[in-house]
């Protein structure tokens, strides 16, 4: 009797483990539990009055997130392929609506306020975009039609529309997130490495020149001669045109000699390279006017906190101080002075990793990183074992999205990446971020559960 029960139990477990990736769910659940704990800590002031509002909200969002997760897990992800346009358009509509009906918080209209809760549509747009791009690339691959440059126009526009809407809020950090997401999915979809390099070259020029000029314009930093020279040339449009001409001539000479040396290289490469550089450079000038000085400063402050010492630079320094002062084992739960005494601003949102490291030290951060790594690697595993190409692309895209968010956030707290206001999935305070991250896991589980089904 007893034996039979055990079999039944084992059977249920085996059956479930075929449908559910327990590693993934377990790592996620641990992260969320940790998050609730840390949000409690971050809201806990040494004045001994605990602001439980954040904590309670995060817990209720986590519970709602589990409902969403179960719903998505049960749903066939092919429905997402079928209704990708609907999802995408709905998210675009939300982005438009938030511009008019959104709540004005910290100088941006990014939030819907529903009763006591706020929702940030840009978080959901990321998932919708991944679904849309996966579907689109799947269709392209079906037609074996990814060679042409023209077929890439559609993914670009699909990405640019939500990006532009988010920039209008304005929330530059979330908007800039879309570029790496697009690049990753294009790479997974086998678009061709040359297209991606071309695109990286273009966006590098377009964004890099304004940022470089901002950096060179910082009086408080000692600049080298090379920096000063390029700043002078790029800062004055006619000089920049002359420099462009010189660069294109150099390209042509290189091409010419390669051909003379009997390399069989199409002139297409020369033209494309030149076009990318030229267009990137031309695009940089309107972008320079469009981006505000403080936005540019914020993006480059991680190079040198002195660029914005009282704004972003302050966050960068204090975040590193929090991480560094934790040492190996940390100061102990609720004992972190940087977080508890308010030296680290918005400590429960974007900089929660610093608070965690301050209180739990290097070891705590390692545990956290390992949990993230489990989620990502299991996600890739799901993408590999997916039943069809759409599933594989969708899972890969979602993993890539989570990866980009995690890396940008961690890099930001450790002073390696620009401060872009990207939250840490599963950990940061914020219902929308938590819901969308859990929805992403729900979709992964849906793909996982249906890997054998035909």
């Amino acid at each position: 009797m007893k034996r039979k029960n055990e079999y039944i139990r084992a059977g249920i477990f085996t059956a479930l483990s075929r449908r559910i990736d327990f590693w993934l769910v377990g790592a996620m659940a641990l992260l969320i539990a940790f998050s609730c704990l840390m949000i409690f800590s971050a809201a806990y002031k040494s004045t001994y009055e605990v602001n439980t509002a954040y904590y309670a909200r995060q817990v209720s969002f986590a519970l709602a997130g589990f409902l969403v997760l179960i719903f998505l897990m049960g749903m066939d992800y092919h429905l997402l392929e079928e209704y990708a346009w609907l999802v995408y358009m709905a998210s675009i509509l939300l982005l438009v609506l938030v511009l008019f009906m959104g709540k004005y918080v910290n100088g941006a209209r990014s939030w819907f306020s529903i009763g006591d809760f706020t929702l940030q549509p840009s978080e959901f747009t990321k998932i919708a975009l991944v679904i849309m791009l996966s579907r689109y690339i799947d269709r392209l691959l079906l037609r074996r039609d990814l060679k042409g440059f023209g077929s890439l126009a559609a993914p670009f526009f699909l990405t640019l529309i939500p990006m532009a809407l988010i920039l209008l809020q304005p929330d530059m950090g979330s908007a800039l997130m879309f570029f790496p997401v697009l690049m990753g999915i294009l790479y997974l979809g086998n678009v061709g490495i040359s297209h991606i390099i071309a695109f990286l070259g273009f966006s590098g020029m377009a964004l890099g020149i304004p940022l470089f000029l901002t950096y060179a314009g910082q009086k408080q930093i000692q600049h080298g001669m090379i920096t000063e020279f390029f700043a002078k040339v790029l800062g004055y449009f006619p000089y920049a045109l002359v420099m462009m001409a010189v660069i294109i001539m150099i390209f042509y000479l290189v091409y010419y000699f390669l051909v003379k040396l009997k390399f069989n290289i199409s002139i297409k490469y020369f033209i494309v390279t030149s076009a990318v550089f030229l267009s990137g450079m031309l695009a940089s000038y309107p972008l320079q006017l469009f981006l505000k000085q403080y936005q540019k400063q914020r993006l480059i402050a991680f190079i040198n906190p002195n660029i914005d010492p009282f704004g972003t630079g302050y966050h960068i320094i204090q975040s590193q101080v929090a991480i560094g002062s934790g040492g190996f084992l940390g100061k102990g739960f609720l004992q972190g002075t940087q977080g508890q005494l308010g030296f680290l601003p918005v400590q429960h949102a974007d900089f929660i990793f610093s608070v965690i490291t301050e209180e739990f030290g290097f070891m705590g951060a390692i545990v956290l990183s390992v949990l993230f790594l489990i989620i990502l690697l299991r996600g890739i595993r799901i993408a590999v074992t997916a039943r069809d190409r759409f599933g594989s692309l969708l899972a890969g895209g979602i993993v890539w999205l989570l990866f980009v968010e995690i890396v940008i956030n961690l890099g930001m707290t450790m002073g390696m990446m620009p401060v872009m206001g990207v939250s840490l999935p599963f950990i940061s305070y914020g219902g929308s971020s938590l819901l969308s991250s859990m929805a992403a896991v729900g979709i992964l589980l849906s793909i996982y559960g249906r890997r054998f089904t035909h």
Binding site: S325, T337, G342, L373
Partner: protein, 598 residues
Amino acid sequence: MWQNTESFQEKRLHNNLQHLQYFTIAVFVILILRLFFISIIKGSYFQKISEDNRIQIFTLPAPRGIIYDRKGKVLVDNRLSFSVLLSPINLKREILEKTIVRLNGVLESVNDYKPGMTGNVCLAEDVEPEKIFYLSEQKHNFPGMRIQVRPKRHYPYGAFAAHLIGYLGQISKRELEDPVHVGYKKRDIIGKTGLEKIYDRFLRGRDGNEQIEVDVNGKPLRMLSHQDSWMGDHLILTVDKNIQDTCEAVLRGKKGAICVLNPKNGEVLAMVSKPDFDPNIFIENTSPLQYRKLFNDPELPMFNRVIQSQQSPGSVFKIITAISALEEGAVDLETTYNCHGSFLLGRGRRSREFKCWKEGGHGRMEIIDAIAHSCDVYFYQAGLKTGVDSISEYAALFGLSALSGFCMPSEERGLIPSARWKREKTGECWYPGDTVNMSIGQGYVLVTPIQMANLASFVAGRGVLYEPFTVRRIIDTEGNIIRTFRPKVKKRVKLKQQTWDIIQRGMREAVTSGTCRGVNFRNLAVAGKTGTTQNPHGDDHAWFICYAPVEDPQVAMSVYVEHGGHGSSAAVPLARKILENMFNLKEEEIVEIFEIED
């Protein structure tokens, strides 16, 4: 499964996912390396910053030691004052600026705050209590502000003994570099002159500090450590407030100096220089204009005349001339010179006439009468007979042209000329006329009031001089004696007993029947000598030195009145009032007769 199909595209997708996996792992390795660098390798560095963030150190200035007079009366103490500090370390600029604008509305002047300053900045000192009440009530509206109660030096009697006690000021860059001031910090308050300077090490005490945990708005949360400040050690002076008061009173409105010593041990009982200044103005926030006015005043209020004023002593110097003449045997008790109003030096056409101050002359004079009546003609001849070198030798023996040994720096030495000195200085040789001038203390001779007080002390002690000193004891706050200053014999001069007898009799007779009958008391035997410095630029300067009682000297003093006129009319009455007060004498006991000497 689709992976098993031969499709080239799908194989590539599989490969790309593999790439993603490697990429993910590689990036995480980089992140963890960075994490290791920050939290392990640079951990201690960031720990220190984190501590600096949350801990603010406030200095608690120590109250300076109290200065008492010899009878335990408080001469200098401290009062409480409120300061408004700003600790801008962790505050964002906008918050700070708001605080400063708000504070500007409450306090009239918010001094020297510049953006980017760190550490505690004192915004305003000596703020009125009403404003402090308001600020402490509204504390939450002024993040980063802190109110500190600071002890401030207080001179309750204002200018009382200002030159002796000195004044305070912020330590200057030069003083800070001086190895004497090891352990002093920037912005420390330090004694600039007088006893405040000399005994600064004892008086200043030790500043305490408080380590306070603050939040990002600079709001104090709890105290982590507290170290009380230690009050400085107290000084007990030899000065008697009563005597000093009298001296200040008699010199009020005049220019000059009085120095009262105890000839038996060298204690300074009173030391006054007028005009003076109020040291309190250096404590309060005084405008630079006021400072300049004080330092550029033609009346020289900052000038301590007791040790810095150099003038010819006039007839007071006759004591030295008499001593050298007696010792060298140039004159003795029986030597007489006839004074008929003038003395002719040299013969024939080149002769020069030196007048006695008394037009009709004194008649036949012996040495005691000559001292008592200050007969110039007698001393012209006695001096000529003794010679310049002997006179300067004896002057040096009595501490003229040398530092008095008094603790204050910036003391002047005065000058006693000699033949050699004149040759080196002017290139001219020494004429007998110079000796004539010198023997009555005119010409090149320069002395300071404290040297004259020492001279009186010398005569009173019959050749024993104690070093003048002003601090008897240094005690700490619990009353333990840190240091006791004992009388120190500075000089002993061996002269014939007869010489001392003659000088003392001469000075005594000057009081009873001579030039300084103004101090002739019935119940107190005073011995003295007046002097008048001829001043071609204005009124003469008056001198008087005396000691009393003659049998058992307890006090020796010198009175110097700049542009006062004759010694007997300008200086003696001041000494009279001082002695009256010291020995509780009544006015009617004074025989009021003036004899004007020149």
